[in-house]
Assembly symmetry: C2
Homo-oligomer: 729 residues x 2
């Protein structure tokens, strides 16, 4: 949480030197008074009762701020989210570049420091900030460990630097002589703040300058050289007078996650459909058997819909039927039955030991298991009997099921977050996370977080991350933009997006520009999905494999985090429940399925290739550098991304037309990717392994969807010449 | 000052109803705890010493926020400056349009209220906010009196509205019946919060609904009609359950000024040059004689450089010479001599009585006298002897004069704002303002505020405006953009700008777009000057009257506040002290001048006309509506401004070329000014009194600088037709 201070003109650092004597005419102002407060009369003490006239006229000093001698101004510190109410997000080792708008009155010199600390810690690290231009100062820091941090800026008018920079501009001998005397006093003061050898050396400098100023045989030029000595400047800078330091009014919060919060490749499957025999319920062991293939495809997060006992009361049948047939397994999101609730495992999937075994086996292959957290109950969830107060009861004695009239979800009871026992409810829900963390889970995909109280999410995520800073939360909220952003501000590490519904060049360009550059980019980490068990977009319903390929390449190269509802995507599952529906026909949400991963139509090889490219190219592991490249063909989308150090540049060109070959000229100036003007450069298509030599600003590209959906070029800046030939002497 | 609250999920309003009974299992959470605090163990009481194990495990409830039942979210309140650290500015009667980003989880209905109050007052006015779209709510308020105010937003999930909007969507009879029962309970609760007749009526509604729900003879449709009764809705809305109300975390500050802070026309003159006889020192009486002419020109602020005794020590001679000749009057900014300082009047100008007489005479004509406040001293200012501690002393026993090496200003001693007696200094400087306010002055033009401590300005302006809310402060700071903006944030009512150096179409378009639409527009009120005694811009040095005319029209129509250094501008004074200088030759800053206002070259008639146009057209009295109109000629600048109600539209076209006629086609679509497409409209040039009939999107304009610098069209939307003819039947 940001710690607001009363005002931003600073608290003097009192520790280093003795306080100046206060002026005899001025009583000391109270130290915790805001700079401008309503001038209410001071409360008279009983022993020193003022006259009525004095009571009516409050002391004029009462309105003065505590330290009017603070002259440095810190007008802004960036990045900032909502004035510091919410944290920016980074991953471990990633630099946080901080800018501050600082200045002072007149021409005096300022020193500005970035301060950062572990949230709540006493000790702050201090990094000198450097003036760029236009009163903008910059510095950066990079915490190496996940956790919660804060940063702010302090600044002071530096007497020594001011004196030194003025002296450098002085011309007149007599001016220099007087300035040298002034400097000697400043340096002696710095010596007084120093200890040991530094104190001695500074005293020596002060004395030399004072003697030099007095010695008429020494001319201005020599005196100036002595005063501008760089070793003197270095020493003096170590012992500044920071009594009148300004401190920015807010400690800005920062959340540092592990790298996977920024760069991740998700694969979703229903464990109960992981079996190989039709009609036989899949198990965690079946999932374990799939791990090598999933790892080979390059995924690092394996996400399961809920694995808990499924409610029997009001259970939905196949294709969301209101009634069940014998053997129907129900929706895994209708959680809870006599077998248990959110902390239990559906017995058909296996035992808790099986689950832990699977989590460990996945970890061996670099894969995190992501657990679905859907805070809602089937009518037969144990909570309904044990905590009736957590639900809304209707006058007819039934529990209010989920509905959005006229739609009804009779198999789902929502929690009542306004209930009297909200505290008990919150603590229990938190214990669900704690339970699974204890089983080895470190990633949670939260189902519909926007239908639960927002303040709950801020609390639970902050509390859990305080104990387990590496835990990652993905918000599954397909809702209005401000609501999605709020959830990200409250602490969700990643967020679902509108990618599924962004298809044209114009839509994709506008949306990914917003995601990578818009005001949310400091806290909203997009995770883009071409499909989910709930969304089979109209474009995929044709079953054209080219469309599946191009949507995959877009997701994987536009965003640092993406995911697929795997088996259905790999195997080009494309039939909707009915025309105009976005629901899958025979959806796994309501029935068991088996998947034949060996089918030749599987696009697993392309998926494996694209994930390998993501893994090898840092440019694709973050979002901020994305920029779209002009190409005069509305079916070709071209964009470039670069790594933070600029050394890895990936240029992707996707043919948005799944049926026809498209060609055009990409506008990419060599200078924009660090190639000197006039030089040619090589681009290597990592999908086709072809090499091309490009020069100038426009580059011809032709993509035939029957052959490839895209080029994913890595730029090789240096083009080989004869010196590279093996036998060149 | 903004009042930060611990967090923004709200304080429950406890006053209306009894608190819900707390759940037996949940101890009450502390009420002033931030939502997320480090989980430190509670301090054990001595009588109930916990076991060591309990000490190590703090209560899980300790981490919970005070009111987790608050479900409404207020994500943003706009306008806001730096998170509420600084005030937005309006003038009395001008509406403050507030937007709030509000939502809640799920589908429940929200009610949102804008609250505003006199700063620090207990009582807040409440205005219902209306949902526009995309979770943006809007309402406005318009304080009628200058002063300091604050505004914020509260919101709550409204049980009655949620119930009503769900009911409206219900279809099934049985659903409606149960919903009616639920509604009866909500309405009975509202009745319990109501009193008198309202309570009775609500009780009656509740009963009717309950009985209706129980009566199987009443069908769903009738029951629904009863439940949706609009009088019931109106009554219930008066007695909402606001216990779980959210409140935005900050009370945002607002400064309301009198109208002249937004819309003003300034005329600067040196009173000592107001005489008519060469070599004779002008007086306040001479100025009084000029008042009718100044009023006729339409100015409403008359600004004088300092009128105090001028220092004799180190006095500057004519044209800034380092030595004086007998009779040299010195720079009025070198303030103070044995005759007195900042509260005294130069005897040659007149007596304090003369000054008060002038102030009153000006006021009779609707003119405010603006006083120059230059906080600096001539070496012989009484302060130097009386308060040596307010200055910086050099080791040679002299006072440090103003300098920016190698430049020196030996006739000016700056105050040392870091001095020990800063409190005494601040109070004395404030008393200078107080002194002149007592003499009737209500506008201060502050000289170089950026060379004095920023925190001083915030304090002094806030303190003075607390006592005198109609006082206006103009910041004369020609410095870096962030510094100028900071001064405006700290409280200056108006600010000097870079207008003087913005000359080309591109420069003017970019700069005035920034001023009217940029992030500073909520607090930075530009006051634009084509010249000042310090700045005779190169473009004016030709002495081409066309250039003087066009720069005047630009200033007066682009900005709601503008000013001229009058006599010199009126009379086309144009010679610089030397080539490449922006200083006037024989500048009034250093010598007496006399001005022959009757000269035929005077542009006073144009000035009078343009000020009359400003006075008559509200469109020109504010800045926010400015928009530039495309015209394919780089020497023609066209722009439109509209009044807040849209009824007054002024389109100005200026020929930036002072030598040649220019023509072009202005792009102005009728729809953009409220004219139905296909209709023609009349524009009336208020400078030439010509009328033109325009239709379509492009309009031909030709401007010859020898005849007129500009068109200033007012748009007459309705074109007369035969119905307007006197004898039409």
């Amino acid at each position: 949480m940001p710690r607001y201070r009363t005002h931003d003109i600073g608290n003097a650092m009192k520790k280093k030197t003795s306080a100046k004597p206060s002026a005899p005419t001025a009583p000391t102002a109270p130290t915790v008074m805001p700079p401008i407060s309503p001038s209410s009369p001071p409360t008279p003490s009983k022993t020193d009762a003022p006259t009525p006239a004095l009571l009516a006229t409050p002391s004029p000093f009462a309105s003065l701020p505590p330290d009017g001698q603070v002259r440095a101004v810190i007008d802004a510190v960036l990045p900032v989210v909502d004035g510091g109410r919410f944290a920016i997000k980074r991953t471990a080792g990633e630099p946080v570049e901080v800018k501050a708008h600082c200045f002072t009155d007149g021409h005096d010199a300022l020193r500005v420091m970035l301060q950062w600390r572990v949230d709540g810690a006493e000790h702050a690290h201090e990094v000198p900030m450097v003036l760029l231009n236009n009163d903008v100062w910059e510095a950066s820091f990079a915490p190496s460990t996940p956790g919660r941090y804060s940063y702010t800026v302090v600044a002071w008018v530096d007497a020594f630097s001011s004196w030194r920079s003025e002296l450098a501009r002085r011309i007149d001998d007599e001016d220099i002589r007087i300035a040298a005397q002034v400097g000697a006093i400043e340096i002696a003061a710095a010596a007084g703040r120093a200890t040991g050898r530094h104190a001695t050396e500074l005293h020596r400098f002060a004395q030399a300058l004072d003697l030099g100023a007095a010695d008429r045989k020494i001319d201005g030029t020599s005196l100036k050289a002595l005063a501008l000595d760089t070793e003197l400047a270095r020493l003096a800078s170590l012992y500044p007078d920071r009594r009148h330091e300004a401190r920015f009014s807010v400690e800005l919060p920062l959340i540092v996650d592990r790298e996977r919060a920024r760069f991740s490749s998700w694969y979703e499957l229903f464990p109960r459909s992981a079996g190989t025999e039709p009609g036989v319920h899949g198990t965690f062991r079946d999932v374990e058997a799939r791990l090598p293939a999933i790892a080979d495809m390059g995924f690092d997060v394996l996400y399961f819909p809920p694995i808990h006992p499924v409610g029997r009361v009001q259970r939905k049948g196949r294709n969301n039927a209101l009634t069940t047939e014998p053997g129907d397994v129900g929706s895994p999101w209708a959680i809870g039955s006599t077998e248990g609730g959110h902390k239990s495992i559906l017995p058909e999937l296996g035992t808790p030991e099986d689950f832990r075994h699977l989590v460990n086996a996945a970890r061996q292959r670099g894969i995190d298991i992501a657990m679905d957290i859907a805070f809602q109950c089937a009518p037969d969830h144990p909570y309904v009997k044990e905590h009736p107060g957590w639900f809304r009861w209707r006058p007819d004695g039934s529990v209010q099921y989920a509905e959005n009239p006229p739609k009804k979800y009779q198999d789902i009871y929502p929690f009542n977050f306004e209930c009297d026992d909200w505290q008990g409810l919150w603590l229990e829900l938190k214990s669900v996370f704690d339970h699974w963390i204890a089983q080895g889970v470190t990633i949670f995909r939260v189902d519909n977080p926007h239908t639960k109280a927002f303040s709950f999410w801020e609390w639970v995520i902050t509390e859990i991350k305080r104990e387990h800073p590496t835990v990652i939360f993905l918000a599954e909220a397909f809702t209005r933009p401000k609501v999605m952003h709020r959830l990200a501000k409250l602490g969700f590490s990643q967020s679902y997006t509108y990618y599924t519904w962004r298809n044209t060049k114009e839509e994709l360009t506008a949306y990914f520009t917003e995601l990578s550059k818009g005001p949310g980019h400091e806290y909203f980490r997009p995770n883009v999905w071409p499909n989910t068990p709930d969304i089979l977009h109209e474009q995929l319903q044709s079953g054209n494999p080219s469309m599946f390929r191009l949507r995959l390449v877009l997701a994987a190269t536009l965003a640092a985090s993406y995911g697929i509802y795997g088996p259905a995507y790999e195997l080009i599952e494309h039939l909707p429940r009915h025309e105009g529906s976005e629901e899958y026909l025979d959806s796994e949400k309501y029935q068991l399925r088996t998947w034949d991963h060996g089918q030749p139509k599987s696009i697993a090889p392309l998926i494996a290739r694209i994930n390998q490219i993501r893994h090898d190219n840092p440019a694709l592991q973050a979002n901020g550098s994305l920029r779209f490249l002009p190409v005069e063909n509305d079916r070709l989308l071209a964009y470039a991304k670069a790594s933070a150090d600029g050394r890895n540049v990936v240029v992707t060109v996707v043919n948005l037309d799944p049926d026809n070959a498209q060609f055009g000229w990409i506008n990419l100036t060599p200078a924009s990717i660090g190639v000197p003007p006039g030089h040619s450069f090589q681009v290597h298509d990592l999908l086709s392994d072809q090499h091309f030599l490009w020069e100038g600003d426009y580059h011809y590209v032709r993509l035939d969807p029957h052959y490839t959906p895209a080029h994913v070029f890595v730029v090789r800046r240096r083009v080989r010449n004869e010196n590279d030939f093996d036998y060149f002497e």
